[in-house]
Amino acid sequence: MRPHVDALPRGIPVALWLAAMLACAAVIVQARFTADLSAFLPAAPDARQQALIDQLKSGAAARTLLLGIDGGSATQRAQASRALAARLRASGLFEQVQNGESDAWVEVGRWVVEHRYLLSPAIEPRRFQSDGLREAIDDTVSLLGTPAGALAKPLLDRDPTGETQRIAEAALAGGGPRTEQGVWASRDGGRAVLLTQTRADGGDLDAQEAALGIIRSTFAALAPPGLALQATGTPRFAVDSRAQIRDEVSVLAIAGTVLMGGLLLAAFASIAALGVAMLPVATAVMAGVAAVALTFGTVHGVTLGFGTTLIGEAVDYAIYYLIQARSADATAAVAGGWRHWLRTGWPTVRLGLLTSICGFGALAFSGFPGLAQLGVFSIAGLIAAVLTTRHLLPVLMPDGARGVGLRRHLGRVALRLVTLLPRVRHLLTVLGLAGLVLLVTRHDRLWQAELSSLSPVPAELLQLDESLRADLGAGDSGTVIVVQASDVESALQRAESAAALLDRLVDEGQLAGYQSPTRWLPSRATQQRRQAALPEPAQLDAALAQATLGGPLSAARLAPFVDDVQAARAQAPLTLESLRGSAVAPLVSNLLFKRTDDGWTALLSLQPGAAAFDETALQRSLAGISGAQVIAIGDELRRLYRRYLGEAQAQALLGALGVVVLIALWLRSLPRVLAVCQPLALAVLLTMAGLTLLGVPLGILHLVGLLLVVAVGSNYALYFDLLRHQDSLDADTLASLLLANATTVLSFGLIAASDIPALSAIGRVVAPGALLALLLSAAYAPRVRRDSPSGSAV
C-alpha cells in the first residue's frame, strides 16, 4: 500500500476530490429540500394506516385551522369573530370559514330543503301512507307553539312531514360548540372560536403560511386593543416547524462551525491546520446531502440539522490524523509522519468507520423517513470524511499539524485522567450495577415516549390546540370509520351500511352523532330507492285526506307538499359532480376523496355520547361491510409507533451486535473484546439510567442515540486497546482522543439544546454518552507500564 501511495502524484487525490465535490454539488443544486412534518410521520405498513397518514398529511385536517379570540368583553369578541369571518370569507382563500353564525348556513338550509326527499333517512313507502303521514305530521306539529316551532312553521305547508328537520337533526347531532351572541364560544364563554379551511392543499406550506399571515393581519387590522388571536391546527404546526427547522439548521451549522473552529484553533494554534481539519467535515456534509438527495429525492431539514453532529464526528478523523501523524516526528522513530500514522492510527480509524457504519446502517432501514435519511446521510458523510482524511490530508499536511497550542495541556490532562480513572474503577462498576438494577426494576416503564415526542410541535401549542378542539366540541372523538372502495358509488353504499350501524349506537346513547358524506350525498341506489317511495299525486292526496282527518292540519293547505313530492320524483339524482360549487361541497369533500391509487375513501367521524362507546363491538359488526374499519386515530398512531419502536430496538441490537462482531474480527481475542465492550456497555447503562432517573421517557430517538454512543464510543475503547498493545501511553494520542471527544460532546451538546425534539433527544443521549464512553474506556483500560514522561508530556 505504501509504495502505491508513494507512486501517486500529489495532484491525483486533489483532482479526484475536486471532481467528487463537483459531482456532489451538481446533485445538491438539483435536490429538493423540505421541512414539512413528513419526516416525523412513519411510512405506514398497511393500506388502512396509509389512509390515516395520508389524511394527516393532506386531508381536511391538514387544511383546517382553529382560531380563538381571547380577551376583551364577550360583545367585543363576538363582533371581532363576525368581522374576521366576513373578511376571510370575502378573501376567497378559504373553502369554509365557520364561526357559528347561522347566516352561514342559510345556503346549506336552502339546498337541503330543495333536496330533502333525496336526503331524508325517513323516506320509505310507509311514510306516505295514511298512518305514516299522520305520525310524521303529529311529530312536526308537536313543535308548533314552542320556540322550537319557529323554524318548522314557515315550512309547514311544504314539509309537513318534517324531512328538513329530520336531516338537520342528524347532521347537527351533539349540538356543537357553545353559542354566545350568535357566534361560537368556548364552553366557559371566555373565548370566541372559529374554524377555517383553506382551498389550498394542506401539503402546500407556502399557501398555508400565506393563509395564516392573512388571518393574522386581518385580525390585527380589525381587533380593538385587548383582544388576542390564537391559531392552531396542522397547518400552523407545519408552517411553524418548517420555519423553526430552517432557523435552527442555520444556527446549528454556524454555531457548530464556530465552536469547532475555535476548539481546533486553540488545539493547533494554526489556521492552516484548522483549514485542513475542516476539509473532511465539508466533504462529509457535501457527500451526505448528495447521497440523501439521490436516495430519497428530497432532503429534509432535520437531516441537515443532524449534519451539525457530523461535523463533530468527521472532524475526529482529521484530529487523529493531524496529531498522530505529527507525533511520529516527536519520537522520530519513523520518517514521514503520515506513513507512521498509516501504520499505527489508520487501522483503528478504519475499524472505527466500520463500527460507525454498523450503527448508522441500522438507521437507514428505519420506517421513519427522517431517521432513514439520517442513516444514509451519516454513512455517506463518514465514508467521505475518512476517504478525505486517508488520501487528501497526507498530500496537504504530510507531517500532521504544525502548531502546538493547547495540545500539550490536553495531553497532560489526558494522562492525569488515565492515571486517576482506573483507581475509581470499582466505584464505576458499582454505579453501573446500580444503573442495571434501576433499569431492570423499571424495564416495563422505560420506553414510554409516544409518537408526539418525535413531533416538533411544542407542548404549549398542543395544549392550546386541544383546548380549542374541546371548545369546538364538534365531538372530535378521534375515532373514524374508514370505508374504502374502488368507485364512488360502492364507497357511498358501504358508508351507508356503516351509518345504519351507527344510527343504532346514537339511539343507545353510545354516540352523540357522527358525520358521514352520505348525509349530503347518498348513494345512487339509496336516492333511487327514496324516489321510488314517493307516491303519485292521486295516491298522496288520498292518503293525506285520510291522515289529516280530525287533525289540526287540513289537507287543503298541503297542496305545496304534494307539488314538492311530485317534483322530487323527477328530480335529477345528486352526484359528486352536481354538488360541485354547492353549499355542501366542502362538507362532502372532507369526508369523501379519491386516493392516490384511484380508489375512493369515505370517512365517518364519530362524536362520543354520554354512554361508554364499545369500539370492539362496532369493529365486530363492521366486519360484515367490506372495506370498512374503525380507526381510533390516537390508538392507531400509538400502535404504529410501538411497532416502529420494536423494529428500531431490533435494528439497534443488530447494529450493536455488528459493532461487537467487527471488533471481535479485528482483535481476535476474547479478553480484548470483553475489555473493549465493557466500557461501552457501561456507558450505555449509565446514560439510560441517568435519563430514567431524570424522568425522561425513552423513545426511538433515544435508542438511536444509544446506538451512536456505541458506534462512537467503540473508537475510544479501541484506541485504549491499541495503546495498551503499544505498551506505552503516548500523550499525543491521548490528546487527540480527548480533543475528538470534546468535539463530539460539543456538537451533540449543541443539538441537545435544539428545540426540535428529534434532534435534542439524540443530542441529550449522545453528548453525555460519548463523554462517559471516553472516561470509562480510560478507566477500564488495562493498566500498563508507562514510559517515563516523554515526548510532549512533562
Binding site: D139, S142, L144, A150, G175, R187, D507, S554
Partner: protein, 208 residues
C-alpha cells in the same frame, strides 16, 4: 272561636295598608326566590294547551314534570304521543318519534335560556333568571306571578314573554307567549310529596 273586634279591624287595616304601601310591602323577587329555593325537588302532572295560528285545533298535551335540584329537569309527555325532554347540567336528551338525540345545551342558546327560566324559577336562582330575562314579580306570597321578558334579541325574536303563576313554593301555570302571537299555557298540578294515600313508592323524597 271569636276574635275580638278591635284586633280584627287592626288586621284588616294592616293588610290594606300593606297593599297601599306599594313596593315596600309587595312581594319582591328576592323574597319569591328565597321561598322557591326551599323546594329542592318535586314531581307534577301537567296539561298543556297550545294556541297556534293557522291550525284548526288547539293542541293539547299531558304528562309529567320532575325537577331535582340543582339542575335536572324532565318533561315526559304521555299524550297524545310519548316524548321526553330531559336536561341535566349542560346535557340535553330528547326522545321523539322513537329516536333519541343528545346535545350540549349551550350550543342552543335560545333553548338554554328557556331552560334557565324554568330551572331558575324552580330553584329560586335570581341571577340565572337575570342573565337572560328581565324579571317582574307581582302578587303576594300566597298568590304570585313572575313575568320574564327576554334580554337577548335573538330570543326576543321568538319569545315575547313568559309568565309563571304560583302559590307559595308551588308553580301553577306557565304561559309562554311567542312573538308571532302563538302561545302555550301549561297547568301544573303537584303530585303530593308526602302522600297519606297509598301511592307507589317514589325513588326520591320530595322537599317540603
Amino acid at each position: 272561636m271569636k276574635t275580638p273586634r278591635p284586633e280584627r279591624l287592626a288586621l284588616l287595616l294592616a293588610t290594606g295598608l300593606a297593599f297601599l304601601a306599594g313596593p315596600a310591602a309587595a312581594l319582591e323577587l328576592g323574597e319569591l326566590m328565597a321561598m322557591l329555593a326551599q323546594r329542592r325537588s318535586g314531581d307534577a302532572r301537567f296539561s298543556e294547551q297550545r294556541f297556534v295560528s293557522g291550525l284548526d285545533q288547539t293542541l293539547r298535551y299531558a304528562g309529567t314534570l320532575s325537577f331535582t335540584a340543582p339542575d335536572r329537569l324532565a318533561r315526559h309527555t304521555q299524550t297524545p304521543r310519548a316524548e321526553s325532554f330531559v336536561v341535566e347540567g349542560n346535557r340535553l336528551v330528547l326522545e321523539r318519534g322513537g329516536r333519541s338525540r343528545q346535545m350540549q345545551l349551550d350550543s342552543q342558546p335560545e333553548l338554554a335560556a328557556m331552560v334557565a327560566a324554568m330551572r331558575g324559577t324552580l330553584s329560586g336562582d335570581a341571577s340565572a333568571l337575570r342573565q337572560h330575562f328581565k324579571p317582574t314579580v307581582s302578587g303576594t306570597p300566597a298568590q304570585w306571578s313572575l313575568t320574564l321578558v327576554p334580554l337577548e334579541y335573538r330570543l326576543l325574536a321568538v319569545v315575547r314573554q313568559l309568565r309563571i303563576d304560583g302559590t307559595s313554593s308551588d308553580l301553577h301555570t306557565v304561559e309562554v307567549q311567542l312573538a308571532d302571537g302563538d302561545r302555550s299555557v301549561m297547568t301544573i298540578e303537584p303530585i303530593p310529596a308526602n302522600p297519606t294515600l297509598p301511592l307507589p313508592p317514589k325513588p326520591r323524597a320530595s322537599g317540603p
